[in-house]
Symmetry: C2
Subunit: 343 residues, 2 copies
């Protein structure tokens, strides 16, 4: 199937620059051998994902910024943590995050498991004082103690931070949006895309967008776990650098302190990109058409015509998938007292 | 059934002060003739209830403070709105709120419909500048325009603030927690309560708690729509007034400016009280046993023994009902842009 489609695209494009192997989104995400999915982990992970008591004052859950009822983000330029604190970067969508090469904008977590531990103890996000404190609080909630025991039956002390992260990651691996028009097209329904969307699909390949945005998630499938990093801007000096403050956040350099990593970023997904405005790490670009213009200029030094932008936007709109209906979790209660008292 | 139970209780108690007519929670909430429930209103109302874009910066939904996946509140002393602002009072549980006599701690809304409009334009809650602005924003989201049309098919301009409130109220009327041990007991299962819980049930009637906490919701059923207001503290001067700052918030007086309303409050529900700590309008009392001691002293001038407190707490624990499983709503997207941009 992939081969046939690739050939078809290559033949159709008649373009020397064509290099994309377009692929439909799988129904299941890859999972690490050390953390196989189970229904009990999934149910616990969903509870924890929606649990505001994982934040210091009980106001912020994972879902606050990565809203699964919405498009998996918050629709805001940057995330908002406890005490109304603004973070420095936008909240990437959690939908299909299992297909990202690495986690966070700067790739500072290789896995969903590693990612889940970060925001808890970030002062401007959930603001817990330590992972030990997270576990201390969870241990005050009888429903979590039993849910951890059920999810990790072989563990002597199942309520620990690694199991918490494992459960959340198992839940996140179920957050997949299949059956986008693009996926239907790739699976053989040639009417699933409009002629304009097909034009846009060819165009992103011809002009070179797909040299970075590859694979099932358009984020570099072949580099999963390794990280698909690219400079942004790749061609510095355009008017957009200043207009949208594209260079002051040094991206991956902030993690590695390696000068070569300055302004390097994980290539983000195109999945559901049409509905996850605003755009880029700092959320400064408000609309998708402008984001397309910025990327063409800063990465490929290309000035697109309005028609080209419209065609690409049309194609990107074909990547909006179906969001499966989920049951709400029930967050376990504490009798007689609360675990988030304030002085 | 009610009569038989009442007689049974009266006979069992052999107490002159016995006056309660204990009642099980109905499966359905009463609804106003002008806003009958429909599946389309319910679905829209659930979307709106979970919609953070109803707040200025897109961070606070109704569910942020009235968390239906939890016990319908936030487990905090006072609510937290946009920019981390603290409100002055605790967030009452939304579960069974349809059975409250009036809405808000001070009864400033007679109906759920009226209530739903308040927090939207409260600066320390959702912070929208006006109801017109709320509607302007909803009109930018195509999925809401169609959902309002479906829910209010006869209206020429269905997207308006009253319809928004109607839909939310219809959803809230479904938030009922039936089958608490107490309800099972009232329906004939005499083993549903422990001997200690039965002792506690008799005690709250004997000492007079049920002179205010009456009806299916223990909040004054017969005064639904009218308001069951009581002074708190009723017997001022105890050590608790200062210890828990019980008098500085003047309650209903803040609404009416009528001196007779000073420190008058809507009688709150006992339903799920064991799991909705902290307690009282300012959330200053952290545990249920202390809340029982405070109420006995401030309202009835009674100093309870530890055993009496334990028996009452046991009874109150029998009022924790079953929280029905719900499907998550899907919040409609906007293509190409977001409706909550920040400068």
């Amino acid at each position: 199937m992939h081969l046939r489609n690739s050939l078809l695209i290559l033949i159709t494009l008649v373009s020397v620059s064509a290099r994309a192997e377009f692929k439909a989104l799988p129904d299941k995400a890859p999972e690490p051998a050390e953390n196989p999915s189970t229904p009990a982990k999934l149910e616990l992970g969903k509870m924890l994902f929606f649990e505001p008591r994982l934040s210091m004052d009980g106001t912020v859950s994972c879902n606050s910024c990565h809203n699964v009822m919405f498009h998996g983000g918050d629709g805001r330029p940057v995330g908002v943590g406890i005490h109304g604190q603004r973070g420095g970067r936008g909240s990437p969508t959690v939908w299909n995050s299992a297909f990202q090469t690495v986690q966070f904008w700067d790739g500072r977590a290789k896995t969903l498991e590693d990612q889940a531990k970060g925001p808890l103890i970030n002062g401007v996000e959930m603001g817990m004082t330590s992972h030990d404190f997270v576990i201390e609080r969870l241990n005050k909630i009888p429903g979590y103690i039993s849910a951890f025991k059920t999810a990790f039956p072989k563990d002597k002390n199942p309520v620990n931070i690694d199991n918490m992260a494992r459960a959340i990651a198992v839940y996140e691996r179920t957050l997949i949006t299949p059956n986008a028009p693009f996926d239907k097209y790739m699976k053989g329904n040639k009417k699933a895309l409009t002629p304009q969307q097909i034009k846009g699909m060819k165009l992103v390949d011809e002009i070179g967008c797909t040299s970075c945005h590859t694979g099932v998630n358009f984020s570099g499938e072949e580099k999963m776990g390794e990280g698909n990093y690219k400079p942004f801007p790749q061609v510095p000096g355009s008017k957009f650098d200043k207009m949208y403050d594209l260079t002051s956040d040094l991206g991956r350099f902030e993690v590695t302190k390696n000068p070569e990593d300055k302004n390097q970023w994980r290539v983000p997904t195109w999945r559901n990109i049409a509905i996850t405005a605003p755009y880029f790490h700092n959320g400064k670009v408000k609309t998708l058409d402008e984001a397309v213009r910025v990327m063409a200029k800063t990465q490929l030094d290309a000035d697109l015509t309005d028609t080209q932008v419209e065609d690409i936007v049309a194609f990107l709109n074909s990547l909006t998938g179906e969001f499966p209906v989920q049951k709400m979790p029930r967050l376990p209660n504490t009798a007689n007292m609360t675990v988030t008292p304030e002085p």
